[in-house]
């Protein structure tokens, strides 16, 4: 049954949907900023990269993550390479967690994600402010970190369901 489903357009789409989402999110920066709620924004690429690096890195691939980071820099007007570095740090943390985890648990992943984004954003902030002298509002960053952390649980739950579908059709 499963072989029947292999290599169809639908399956290829399902397989590459997270990658497609990553590129759409860096091009589009959809973080609901336009709602104009003060301090409400979240970093969807962080959630996507951490989850898929942890569970199934071949879906995204380090090369594509690097390119997505460069695109994100171009959209936001940051120095080229800064988002790539941040994304790859997240990949590194996720890969380390993957290697040491015997029994995966969403709550542990969630808490580890908080530590990861705190570290990644600190590097990002340090480079932007001290290395490139770009002023950034750290309350905005803090809001971004909190909402990214909170929303990770919801998105991870959705991605878990999605991953089960991928496993069922064996793409």
């Amino acid at each position: 049954m499963s072989s029947k489903f292999k290599n169809t357009i639908g399956n290829t789409f399902l397989l590459y949907l997270p990658l497609l989402l990553l590129f759409i999110s860096v091009f589009n920066e959809f973080d609901f900023n336009y709602l104009n709620y003060q301090y409400f924004s979240f970093n969807f690429p962080f959630i996507l990269i951490f989850y898929w690096s942890l569970k199934r890195i071949e879906t995204l691939g380090y090369g594509f993550i690097f390119i997505a980071g460069m695109f994100n820099d171009a959209v936001l007007g940051f120095p080229i390479g800064i988002s790539s570095l941040t994304y790859l740090i997240i990949c590194g943390f996720a890969a380390y967690l993957r290697n040491i985890t015997l029994r995966p648990s969403l709550t542990k992943d969630w808490l580890y994600f908080l530590f990861t984004i705190l570290f990644a954003n600190s590097i990002n902030y340090f480079l932007l402010v001290l290395f490139f002298s770009i002023e950034i509002n750290y309350y905005e960053i803090l809001g971004n970190i909190i909402f990214t952390f909170l929303l990770y649980y919801i998105f991870a739950y959705i991605f878990d369901i999605y991953r089960k579908i991928l496993l069922r059709i064996k793409v």
């Binding site: 759409i24 091009f27 589009n28 920066e29 959809f30 973080d31 900023n33 336009y34 104009n36 003060q38 924004s41 890195i57 071949e58 691939g61 380090y62 090369g63 690097f66 980071g69 460069m70 695109f71 171009a74 959209v75 936001l76 007007g77 940051f78 120095p79 080229i80 390479g81 800064i82 790539s84 570095l85 790859l88 740090i89 990949c91 590194g92 890969a95 380390y96 993957r98 290697n99 040491i100 480079l127 932007l128 290395f131 490139f132 770009i134 002023e135 950034i136 509002n137 905005e140 960053i141 809001g143 971004n144």
Partner: protein, 282 residues
Amino acid sequence: MAASRDDFVIAIRSAFIKKGNKQRFSLIGLIFFSIGLLILSKISFPVTNYLKITLNEIVYRSSFIVSIPEKKIQDLSNKIKDHFNVYNDYLLVKEKIKILQSKKYNTQFLEEENKRLKKTINEYIYNSEELVAKVLIDKNSPFLKSIIVNKGSKDNVKLGMAVLDQSYLVGKVVEVNYSTSRVLLISDLNSKIPVGIEPGNIQSILTGTGRINGKIEYLETDISIEDNSIVYTSGSGGLFKPGIPIGTYYQETEESYEIVNFFSKLSQLTFVKLVSFDESKN
């Protein structure tokens, strides 16, 4: 103890150095490559500048296309809001037109008088060249407040050009590519504009707050400014011509800093004017 350290080293090595399943690049290689790019960007290495310009050209256009569905949803929500507010807006506009009509003749007279007086004292007259540009990307990022417009070096856009929405200042050009440019909005934390506050021609610097307004900085403590005073560009530094309106001043409380509410709604920009000025003597 040694065993747990070994486990840590193995896990780190496996995570960063080994290429994963179906991976062409190792993580550590790409991290070093990113750091290299950052260092080259910092020293403005020519190759990275070309890379940046090429990347910008591709990304801005792609981003514009990808953003179309989100923009449509945003437009729709704005339209619905407008429909609900139409009657109140009508009354407000009617009232404003009355006031403006009475002011119009006064302004015309003052403009002519100003020109005559400038000629008399041999003051500079500013010639300006305008270029209308479409806003391609308006991301309202939490980190940087900037927009991308569809005019670049091929249209003679220069760094530092003033960007106006109707006659109000909204930002300045900070990056020029071949067919696109980035405009840093006046609401960005990194934006610093020399301004004059009327009445009184009080000189100061307007800084963005990273939100929808700006704040007045480097103002002497003994100067008091009335609420609803108008903030204009002062022309200091020679980048902008003096007298471009920016917003209205007010101070929330005695302790809080001075806020400037911009005349233009920076999140609703669709077309802007890129303006360059040059001074000429009479």
